[in-house]
């Protein structure tokens, strides 16, 4: 029996605007287990990114119950959510969002600093070797290609040994070759390191390579 990392029970995210309410995510049930490789697909506005934000404790659900590693984070405050993010989660974004003034290795060490972990440079170098950037340690992000930047972002996300890696359109700004390389890296981390991965993508060619595909439509799970 695999460990449940995230359990979502009828979670919803409803945005209240003047005169209307928008349900970005509605009544979704989802379990994510250790070793899972899940892709979330769906048309624009279907709630993919909002669901990822909820799973990633970047925002709180307005309804339902969400547990991460057995901890109920439904309605939790930011100080509680930040601890959960530090301990169990890693993030990769479409625009990489590396800190431009920090070198590759410093960007990776930054994650250890915020996670209150020992800033072990050897560990950072090992992780960068794992993602194939061992020769680019002291380069600035501006000196890297898009694919390399995304691999730095992945190294930054996994150096804290998270239980779950969440990637929001990680190949959205990459060409098809770099996209496949990044996806291959996710598969490698999933298969060899046992890291659970959830990827939001528009690209069915890549999304269908995941072990489990979740499709969303209008904020709900599609068939």
């Amino acid at each position: 029996m695999k460990d449940v990392i995230v359990r979502a029970e009828k979670i919803s995210k409803i945005y209240k605007l003047p005169g209307e309410q928008i349900a970005a995510v509605k009544d979704i049930d989802l379990d994510i287990y250790a070793g899972d490789f899940i892709s979330i697909m769906g048309p624009s506005g279907s709630g993919k990114t909002t669901l990822l934000d909820l799973i990633g404790c970047l925002t709180s659900a307005t309804g339902g119950r969400l547990t991460v590693m057995g901890r109920d984070v439904s309605g939790a405050g930011e100080s509680c959510l930040v601890k959960v993010r530090r301990q169990f989660l890693g993030f990769v974004f479409q625009d990489f969002l590396l800190i431009p003034s920090l070198t590759v290795v410093e960007n990776v060490l930054l994650s250890l600093y915020f996670s209150r972990q020992h800033q072990d440079k050897k560990r950072a170098i090992n992780v960068l070797n794992l993602v194939g950037l061992g020769q680019r340690l002291n380069h600035l992000p501006a000196q890297l290609s898009g694919g390399e930047k995304q691999r730095v972002a992945i190294a930054r996300a996994i150096i804290t040994n998270p239980k779950l890696l969440l990637a929001d359109e990680p190949t959205g700004n990459l060409d098809s070759r770099a996209s496949q390389e990044v996806f291959d890296l996710f598969k490698q981390l999933n298969e060899k390191e046992g890291l659970a991965v959830v990827v939001v993508t528009h690209n069915p060619e890549l999304g269908n390579q995941a072990g489990r595909v979740i499709k969303l439509k209008d904020g709900r799970l599609a068939a």
């Binding site: 934000d53 970047l58 925002t59 993030f91 969002l97 003034s101 060490l109 600093y113 915020f114 996670s115």
Partner: protein, 394 residues
């Protein structure tokens, strides 16, 4: 990796903007340090000048105390005169240790200052003048050959400017009198360096002021008797007694308004710099909204973000403070020169005296400014919600 190194590296991203912000703080701190230095330097130099007068009291003709103060320290012509017999009465007082009469006059010399025209200060004295000022030593030559000799003793700078040595002739413009240089004094670092001395009787003769004096310098046997002595001369008609303590106070009063004005400018400069830093860092925070969101996603707490932004402002202000102190120290000579040119009376010596305590005070002030300036931008940054910050601008 810590908040300070992250903050510092962030600042290096926009080098021109950071440099300009640092320059703003540096200027404000330089003004502050220079002002403190001027305050200390002026007071010290003024005290030095007064101590080197050699007497405790100056008796002058009744008039404006500011004029009297100027007369004591700077000399001056066209002032009021007192009768010489008052000098004799004061000299007979048993409380008096030493006393010296003076007759000052300034004469405009069209050819002075390299043809630009300048005033030359002439002071008629008796030998008692040197007894009151034992630090006045001869570089060349010596005392007058007689009490009414047509001779002069030149102060160090006066002789240097005129290129005169003993035996040379000195023409006194306006009175068509030629006098012989009898001696030249060594540099004393006082106003005496710029003076041309002549025998009191000669001065009274050539300036057509027989039996007149501009002042009488008095040194008492007991400095504690100053108040009593002043009191005893209170009823003497046509004179006033000015103690050196009063002179010090009078001169400081004269510059107090200038100091207050400069102090206000320094405070305004610091306030403007503070607003400038706040604005710069706030803009920088808004530009980095998405990065701040990612930091939070990576596990940064609100306080982590607050510390990073706060560090940036403190670094900017500390660097500005350091640069300002260096600017103030390296420019103190120029500052002193400018101030000297602006003030009606500036004492000899170091006019801008930058003490170590001012440096620490200014650096501390810069850091405090940084802490205050950074509070609002840091608070704004720390309050950003991760998901909204990451998605901002998408």
């Amino acid at each position: 990796m810590n908040a300070i190194t992250i903050g510092f590296k962030n600042l290096t991203r926009k080098k021109i903007r950071t440099t300009l912000t640092v320059a703003g703080i540096a200027l404000a701190v330089a003004v502050l340090v220079s002002l403190l230095g001027f305050d200390a330097g002026y007071q010290k130099s003024l005290s030095g000048d007064i101590d080197k007068l050699g007497y405790h009291l100056l008796v002058t003709a009744k008039g404006c105390p500011y004029e009297a103060a100027t007369l004591i320290l700077k000399g001056g012509g066209g002032l009021r005169y007192m009768e010489e017999n008052i000098f004799k009465r004061i000299a007979s007082d048993p409380r008096v240790d030493k006393i010296t009469p003076q007759l000052m006059n300034s004469v405009y010399n069209q050819e002075g200052a390299g043809g630009k025209g300048a005033f030359a200060m002439y002071v008629g004295i008796e030998h008692s003048y040197l007894e009151l000022k034992p630090w006045l030593k001869f570089r060349w030559g010596g005392w007058f050959s007689g009490s009414a000799a047509d001779e002069v003793i030149m102060g160090y700078e006066a002789a240097e400017v005129e290129q005169r040595k003993p035996g040379d002739k000195v023409f006194v413009p306006g009175v068509s009198k030629v006098l012989t240089v009898k001696g030249v004094l060594k540099r004393s670092g006082t106003q005496d360096d710029g003076v041309i001395f002549l025998p009191l009787a000669t001065a009274q003769n050539i300036f057509e002021l027989p039996g007149k004096l501009t002042g009488v310098g008095v040194k008492l046997k007991d400095i504690g008797q100053i108040a009593d002595f002043e009191e005893s001369l209170y009823n003497e008609p046509g004179i006033q007694v000015v103690s050196l303590a009063e002179v010090r106070g009078t001169i400081l009063n004269l510059v107090a308004s200038a100091r207050a004005m400069a102090g206000s400018v320094a405070l305004i400069a610091i306030f403007v710099a503070l607003i400038g830093v706040t604005n710069t860092i706030l803009v920088s925070v808004f530009e980095r909204t998405r990065e701040i969101g990612v930091m939070k996603a990576l596990g940064a707490s609100s306080f982590d973000v607050f510390k990073i932004v706060w560090s940036e402002t403190v670094i900017v202000c500390a660097l500005g403070g350091l640069a300002g102190v260096i600017l103030a120290i390296s420019g103190s000579g120029l500052t002193a020169k400018v101030i000297r040119g602006m003030l009606p009376y500036a004492p000899q010596g170091e006019l801008v005296l930058i003490k170590g305590e001012f440096v620490w005070m200014a650096l501390l002030a810069a850091i405090v400014v940084g802490l205050i300036a950074g509070t609002y931008p840091a608070w704004r940054a720390s309050r950003m919600k991760p998901v909204e910050a990451i998605r901002a601008g998408e």
